[in-house]
Subunit: 934 residues, 2 copies
């Protein structure tokens, strides 16, 4: 990294030279101090070394030309203003050195206070303040801080020496130490420095300043800071500034003090000054927790004048910045100094309340309020979360077991259960259960429904576990690589910890963290979040995108409605196939489908052949009749149609349920999509069973039945099932399944019409790659629809469209739109095929590593890849609409709930996004922000 800079570049700004707008150059802290100085607020004199200087230092490993000279000039100004001298033994100027980047981040250097002290200046302070103890306490603190922070000496050395000394001299607290004691301690500390670094503690204040400045710069390139920036996608070339500020002392006696305060309550958002202070203390004491600080309101009583001044300054700053501020102040001998102002960190709840209040107070506009909230924050208001204190405590006790992919947000605690059936049982009995699996499959869904949360060692952001959990609004931590799940023996191992079934754990699906104990959770209630409801109402006024939801059951649809969904963008019919009572029927249908279809096709072909022949003899006709009878009486054909007609009844009820809840709103129902073997028992387990039975018992009915099943499943096995016989290919190979589903949808809709409802079903054909697939399926559906409507005697408008989830579909969208009334982008699959990344495997193998190493900027299953997948979407929208102008276009992949992806959908001109119910509020806000151009 090389940074270009001119010889006369300005590296150092006095506070009076800067403004709030220079945040990038001066960092947040520096810009705040400058702004306050400009506003004539009482700020100690000081200056800021720019972020550009930091970058120059990182590139050249030395101060850039001119920096040190400029720094010296600025220091002289500070000397003049304070009428003190840096290193002056009589009246020494002391300074604090603090880092300050344009954004707040961990891993940056701690503040060094009292810089400028040495043997001589300490004595000078002692003399000028008439307080020797104060002087040596300051020197002691300085050596300790400088040693730990700048010289990188393990703090433990100082702490233990300090504690030992106190014990030896019988001091209970720091205040018991006399100036003599402190002098001794300083000597000990200086020895520690010499031992650890092999050199004397720098006595020269200028050397101290140089080293501290360089340490700030270096901390920008430290591992923790780099990791943090990688994780949050923060550019590495922002750099950090260095603020050098004349020290003011809150620990000069009872007319001195120090404190921090927020202009509004950062937890609740309530409009009240919120903070703490300590009399006769330095800033670090407030945080350190050695003395208990008083609430800021107390200050009104103790120092009414200073309090009034502070209150007025706080108001001015909030009004100026139009945002709640986080303030630091010190009172030195009755004089108030402002040391910092910055935008206050706040909880999601506070963020929403402050934004809404400020609109009502006419401080900001509605648009600005919408801009203020990070959409993903809203999740916290909709999902259970852990109590922060309990979480921190658990971490302190080493109960953080590890972490994985934050696959579905929310927090949950419960007993570990490995078996979905048991999870269902325990859950129904009212127990809190965390279902732990290597990965989940559709057959585990009943267990997931009754669990509080799901933990898996495999799978990623679009894995089965993640998608289902998000749909259910349950937390899920997935793809925990270091997690070794032993389902058979009922335990899991993570790191060096073993957890047995029945033990309690907690998972946080928002952070991906796993804890070894039960943590208390805080439960939300959407309708009570009045401010959020207000904010989302404003979002609705602004946004152009519709917000729909993915929901498979009436209860999910109802929740989506409550959250403001305007339609159902994806109802996955296969989830209905997994319900307990239906699975045997579904399995019977699948096992018979192949043979039954083959037989019926043969008959059909024979009939067609006869139709085409010039002359048909009576023998031929008799033959066909005979064959037809044979086929109709075959066990497979009967099984197939029996099972299908049972499923038809179930499906009619399914669809009536969801269409009724969504009365008058569109509901997109997708035809059966997954490979059929997903509905059958797992091959591996069956193979082991059969092998055991063969060895153990010789021929038996059980063995024969299992062998038959094994052979059937083997026949259906695919090497890459995601690219296999699924989606519309199923319906084209086994036509009767499509027929059943179409019949169910039309029957449900027409019956609702007759009952006085206004159903708006749309039938979605999945995984179309060639226009002919859609053309054929649509013809079939329409024929069935006409038959049902005629039979039941009422009409219903049903749109027929397709998912665009294969590159070829996007590329040939102009052809496909000739037969589609709507497109819905299935971006999970589209991402899968565009990148060639298996949704089932990639995230537990190479994908997260790719993101960590910066090969990919984001996990494309979480944030839509605009360059590749986005390009296909854009192409498809343009070509689709060029063929059919009124084409309804939306997105129903997991990206429909991701703010960045929603922004893209807005820019691309989609009609709506469809997200899991719990992300509907997020999507409403993100859609508004997309309009506001964030």
């Amino acid at each position: 990294m090389t940074v270009q800079h001119s010889i006369d570049q300005k590296w150092v700004y006095l506070f009076e030279e800067g403004t709030a707008e220079m945040r990038d150059l001066l960092g947040g802290k520096g810009a705040g101090l400058a702004e306050m100085t400009q506003a004539q607020l009482p700020v100690p004199p000081g200056f800021t070394v720019t972020t550009e200087a930091c970058n120059a230092y990182a590139a050249e490993k030395q101060f850039p030309d001119g920096l040190w000279d400029q720094l010296m000039d600025a220091l002289k100004v500070v000397e003049r203003k304070t009428q003190k001298g840096f290193g002056n033994a009589e009246n020494p100027l002391l300074v604090s050195v603090r880092s300050g980047a344009s954004i707040s981040m961990p891993g940056m250097m701690d503040t060094v206070l009292n810089l400028g002290l040495n043997h001589m200046t300490t004595d000078g302070i002692a003399r000028s303040s008439g307080n020797e103890r104060f002087a040596y306490d300051a020197y002691r603190r300085f050596v300790q801080m400088f040693g730990r922070i700048v010289l990188d000496i393990d703090g433990e050395h100082f702490d233990s020496a300090f504690e030992n000394y106190k014990r030896d001299c019988g001091a209970n607290s720091d205040t018991d130490l006399t100036s003599e004691h402190l002098r001794d301690i300083v000597a000990t500390f200086l020895e520690i420095v010499e031992n650890e670094t092999g050199a004397e503690f720098p006595q020269d204040p200028y050397q101290q300043l140089e080293l501290a400045t360089k340490a700030v710069f270096s901390s920008w390139s430290g591992k923790r800071a780099i990791d943090y920036r990688n994780f949050y996608k923060i550019p590495h070339d922002l750099g950090t500034a260095v603020n050098v500020v004349a020290m003011v002392f809150g620990n000069m006696g009872d007319s001195s003090g120090t404190g921090v305060a927020f202009t509004r309550d950062p937890s609740t958002g309530e409009k009240t000054l919120y903070g703490e202070y300590l009399i006769d203390a330095q800033g670090e004491d407030v945080v350190a927790g050695i003395r208990t600080p008083s609430r800021i309101a107390e200050l009104k009583r103790v120092m009414p004048e200073q309090y009034a001044e502070f209150l007025s300054i706080a108001e001015r700053l909030e009004n100026y910045y139009k945002d709640a501020q986080d303030l630091e102040f010190t009172i030195e001998n009755g004089k108030l100094y402002m040391l910092q102002t910055r935008s206050a960190k706040r909880t999601a709840q506070a963020a929403v309340k402050i934004a809404v209040d400020m609109v009502q107070e006419n401080i900001i506009s509605k648009e600005e309020a919408l801009r203020r909230i990070e959409p993903n924050q809203i999740n916290q208001l909709l999902l259970p979360r852990f109590d922060d204190r309990a979480r921190e405590e658990a971490e302190g006790l080493g109960d953080l077991l590890g972490s994985g992919l934050n696959a579905s947000p929310g927090a949950a605690s419960g007993v570990v259960v490995f078996d979905p059936d048991q999870a269902e049982k325990l859950g129904e009995e009212g127990n809190s259960v965390i279902l732990v699996r290597p990965e989940t499959a559709p057959e585990d869904v009943h267990g997931m429904i009754h669990a509080k949360g799901v933990l898996t060692s495999r799978g990623g952001a679009t894995s089965h576990a993640a998608v289902v959990a998000r749909g259910l609004g349950k937390p899920c931590v997935a793809g925990v690589e270091e997690l070794d799940v032993n389902v058979e023996q009922g335990f899991f191992v993570i790191g060096d910890r073993k957890v047995e079934a029945g033990e309690e754990i907690s998972i946080d699906g928002g952070t991906g963290q796993i804890y070894a104990k039960r943590l208390p959770t805080i439960d939300p209630n959407f309708s009570e979040e009045k401010d959020l409801v207000t904010l989302l109402g404003w979002a609705d006024e602004v946004r152009n995108l519709g917000v729909w939801a993915n929901a498979d059951y009436p209860r999910d649809a109802q929740r989506a409605l409550d959250f403001g969904a305007e339609g159902i963008g994806l109802c996955r019919t296969e989830h209905m196939f997994f319900e307990e009572e239906r699975r045997p029927i579904v399995q019977r249908m699948i096992l018979a489908a192949g043979k039954a279809t083959r037989l019926e096709q043969e008959l059909q072909q024979e009939i067609e052949r006869q139709d085409q022949a010039t002359n048909t003899s009576t023998t031929d006709e008799a033959e066909i009749l005979k064959k037809r009878k044979e086929i109709e009486e075959s066990a497979d054909v009967q099984d197939y149609h029996d099972a299908l007609s049972k499923l038809l009844e179930f499906q009619v009820e399914d669809f009536k349920g969801i269409l009724k809840v969504m009365d008058g709103k569109p509901v997109i129902i997708r035809l059966l999509d997954p490979p059929l073997h997903e509905f059958l028992p797992p091959y591996d387990e069956l193979l082991v069973d059969v092998t055991k039975l063969r060895l153990a018992s010789g021929p038996s009915d059980e063995l024969e039945a299992k062998e038959h099943l094994l052979a059937m499943i083997e026949e259906m096995q695919e090497i890459n099932p995601m690219l296999g016989l699924r989606g519309c290919r199923l319906g084209l190979m086994y036509g009767a399944i499509n027929e059943m589903q179409a019949k169910a949808i039309f029957t449900a809709s027409v019956e609702l019409v007759l009952e006085g409802f206004n159903p708006k079903p749309e039938i979605m054909v999945p995984l179309v790659g060639h226009v002919n697939e859609l053309r054929l399926v649509r013809l079939e559906i329409e024929a069935i629809g006409e038959a049902v409507q005629e039979k039941l005697g009422a009409q219903v408008a049903v749109k027929i469209g397709t998912m665009i989830e294969l590159p070829r579909a996007a590329l040939t969208a102009d052809q496909i739109a000739e037969h589609a009334q709507f497109f819905s982008f299935g971006t999970n699959d589209l991402t899968q095929t565009t990148f060639g990344y298996s949704r089932d495997d990639a995230e537990s193998s190479f994908l997260l590593d790719y993101v960590k190493r910066g090969i990919l900027e984001e996990n494309p299953f979480q944030v839509l890849d605009r360059d590749g997948v986005g390009q296909l979407i854009q192409t498809a929208v343009e070509r689709g609409r060029s063929t059919y102008q009124d084409l309804e276009v939306g997105i129903c992949g997991e990206h429909g709930g991701d703010p960045s992806s929603i922004e893209f959908c807005h820019q691309t001109g989609l009609d709506y996004v469809s997200a899991s119910p719990f992300r509907v509020p997020i999507a409403r806000l993100a859609a508004a922000q997309a309009v506001l151009g964030m």
Copy 2:
């Protein structure tokens, strides 16, 4: 289907009204007869009912208005020319009715001769010819033909009645029958007609003509014809014409005769009149084989005058049509009549010889010669083929077992073997072996190498079996759905036939057929095919596309060179990993790779962390040294690097071998591509083993070892391996593998340079989806390259590029081209992800059915899909070259050997195509044809 036609549309053309150019309207036969008539050749008078009439009939199920009137008018002209009357009892006109489409196809109606006969006209013929036996024989033949062909009566009825009659009257052959006998037989035949159709045989010649014409039209819509057209993608609206020709009789005594002849030998292409004739016979007798015809040369002796006339006509026709002709003639009482001329069907060998000869005879241009040859025909000249007669005989005996996908052309016979090891053993002992498997995997390759051919029940055109077999030039029939392979018990079942290991079968990879016996094969020799070599030389002059070959071993590269390859477009290094002595090393490497890489990464991170820290204490350094030692001594790390360094030695030799053979020509070497678990034992088998061992024997070393292996493989298992950890992802996760391969390529190349060779290696990074992948791998390769060149002291130019085989790579080709010197389209994978079709599964599940039903026009793994995959290729070429103008662009997927796909590659401006060695000659021709715009 509705056909528009005007009221005065011309449906019927007299021969003198037509020309050769009216082939679409009059069919090939009609156009030929018209052309010969125009050329004043002796053609019997007649006319043609147009193909448009056929379409009109198909649409309306009746003759279109005007047709019958026009037909009557034309018939009157024929009556006038022949001076005979249709249905005239004294001097009756008889006609033949024949179908004739613009292309020749099976399933069309057979010819009906002697139409116009009935009781009265037969007597008239008897009288006018003075030959009653001739008349009744003609009548007998007519009733039989008309009954079978037009009235759709089972021919068996007539045949058995005829045989019974002959037996009853003691006749040995037809000639023993008297006119009395024939009269009786006619009566019997007429009764058969009445019994079978419930109506009298039509005595009215006009009704006969109407029925026969309609029967021709109907045969166009018969099942066999429709199936054929579907299979060969022939439009259904071509229609067939009907030719009505005045009968001439070759069976009027010794001065009459009939015959067929080709102007050149259709088997060898030799320039000599080739054919047969019979004296005193009708056309059907020549084909029927009841009498043995004489060679056409004999005719010169027997009828010198007619022979000379025929010879001169044959020459005129060949010169006129500029192609070898297939002629039919009849001599009636010494007068020669031409009944047909058409382009002669010929073998591949003849096609090439005729084309080359005709250029040398100045009849056609070189370009025309190149146009004449269907590129796929060339295969026949390069690969063993079955003797046609033996094949037909086997089919007659019911020895055709079934058929599958024609996955790799050529023919082979051998004993059935299921185990690849045994195939290797038997093959090495000199036995002919057909390896039969459910599907093949890389671990089966040694068996495939030693087998004559491969038969699988699963997999398609780009399955492992197909790709490897094509590379080896061995026949492969794949994806035989009805084939049930029982490897364990050593038999397979197909339909109702069971074949045991050790029995002999034959497979034809060109047609996909499987035979239950050994069929004799005819072996080719490319260098002896002088005409082909000449033709391909002309192709080379014309084509713009380079033709390279896919080859993994020096011997394949040599073969490709012999076939004219100009480079190696794909050398798959993984095939080298499967050789017997290497597999254990490869397995050791893989099993250690994960842990070793993790350990080394941890060490690396620790070192980096220390580097970044401001101060490094001596303790930290000691810790790192200790950790480094620990890691270096760990068994996994040692195994990993031991194995890799052994593989390095092998690979240096591999690459030297192929680069030496291809000296001076480019060789693209692809880095390791397949998922690593392909190199390990199959999971299922191991699972059964472990289950058995657990049950049988309790704890044992064997069990423990296998359990460990099982666990390792389980960890590496992927649900969709094609979309998993493979391609460049491998090298990015396990860097040492790339390092080893790059080192081997550079070492091999530099060593060759030092030995005086001119190696041109190009390193191809597979499965790139994001530019960063290529960027990182390229940086690594270049660093290694520099180190090797410096160490060995010589330079070598090595291009580095990538495969474009993911949609995202194509869509972002502009970015990727910033780091690539070449692109090679991996169209197998690109087709897979663009369509979302698993290469491993689709063809044995839904894909072939899709093609059969016309949902897809072609199998996109065989013929490049221009709309989807082609669009991506076009995009990638444009964007890639927009970034880097000199980008070398080729294709190395299986499509590189398919003529239609080659045409697309030419149109898209690719630099070369790369095909399996045996398809190189085909590609050379196809590339030339692409220029010629076929």
